[in-house]
Amino acid sequence: MDCLFIRRNLFSYQEHKLSDKDTKEFEAHLLSCAECSRIVSEFRSVTSVIDLRKDAEPNPFAGTRIIQRLESEMESNKEKREPVFIRILQPLAVAALLVIAVLIGYSIVKQGNPEISAIINHQQDIQAIQSDLNILDFIDEDETFFANK
């Protein structure tokens, strides 16, 4: 058995996949070849890291973080599903509320403040008198017109 066979069968030797005969020859070669013996030892040492890595444990809170991320994804999905309400209905509702508030305010002011009510009533009286006068003027004009005839 030569060094090349050793170097090409490091995994097979480690995984006990060589035949009994090859295993015996492999081990006999190691006893007689210092360089191959060193390489086999280094190989075993480096590949032992695989087992070390298997023992690593994740952070116990990793699952909580994943859930939080998924929940925030669900929230953003909900927001995406309600654009009609957010973009159209909500501003309309706010505008309607404002109009209602103005109307309510106006009627409260009108009923609650006597001075303003008096002014408004006074203005209404003036308007009524003015319209009466306009009608009288019109009648006068008609009478003059017929008299002249």
Partner: protein, 191 residues
């Protein structure tokens, strides 16, 4: 909860189904990602991306493969994407530091080669093994990691990689030959 109930629950964004999914698969997902990327924090971040992907594309999940196989596939793909990004970043950083070095006139790039003589031994061994595994072609790397780290059967690896069992056997054989060659060269060079 059966697999189809779980899938149905996830499609309906049921919180119990989400909790079950995470409880049931998080450890496997994180560990698989960790075997690829070698840093636990990165693996945990990647696991979030994996579960997000599962959650977003569950309606496209076809039941011709088991849910766990599908999740493994997503995990492997996300891990490989991460490694590719990392590689690009490393190249960019090397170019950047080379340009800086050219301006300074002093060479600060030392191609760090881990040696077994310096005895922060586990770390050194990890670096050597990762260097060798990461230099394998992608398919060989996936087959090797799933077989040696995850201890998966050839049949399961074949399902995840969407290959025949004989193709997986061949990939693994070549992966081991390549790794042996790289490691022996390394041991001979840095003896």
């Amino acid at each position: 909860m059966t697999e189809s109930e779980l899938v149905e629950g996830l499609i309906n964004q049921n919180k119990i189904a989400i909790q079950y999914l995470v409880d049931h698969y998080q450890k496997d997902v994180i560990k698989t990602a960790y075997y690829f990327v070698a840093i636990m924090e990165d693996a945990e971040d990647l696991s979030q991306e994996v579960f997000l992907e599962v959650f977003r594309s569950i309606s496209r999940y076809k039941k011709n493969a088991s849910l766990s196989t599908w999740i493994y596939r997503i995990t492997v793909n996300k891990s490989l994407d991460h490694l590719r990004r990392q590689k690009r970043r490393n190249i960019f950083n090397q170019v950047k530091s080379f340009i800086q070095v050219s301006h300074d006139g002093t060479n600060v790039i030392s191609k760090e080669q881990p040696t077994l003589d310096t005895r922060n031994e586990d770390n050194e061994k990890r670096q050597i093994l990762d260097m060798a595994v990461n230099s394998l072609p992608e398919n060989q790397k996936i087959a090797f990691i799933l077989n040696k780290y995850e201890e998966m059967a050839y049949k399961d690896i074949a399902e995840i990689m969407d290959l025949s069992v004989s193709s997986v056997e061949s990939l693994l054989h070549r992966a081991k030959l390549n790794l042996q060659k790289k490691l022996v060269n390394y041991f001979s060079e840095y003896a």
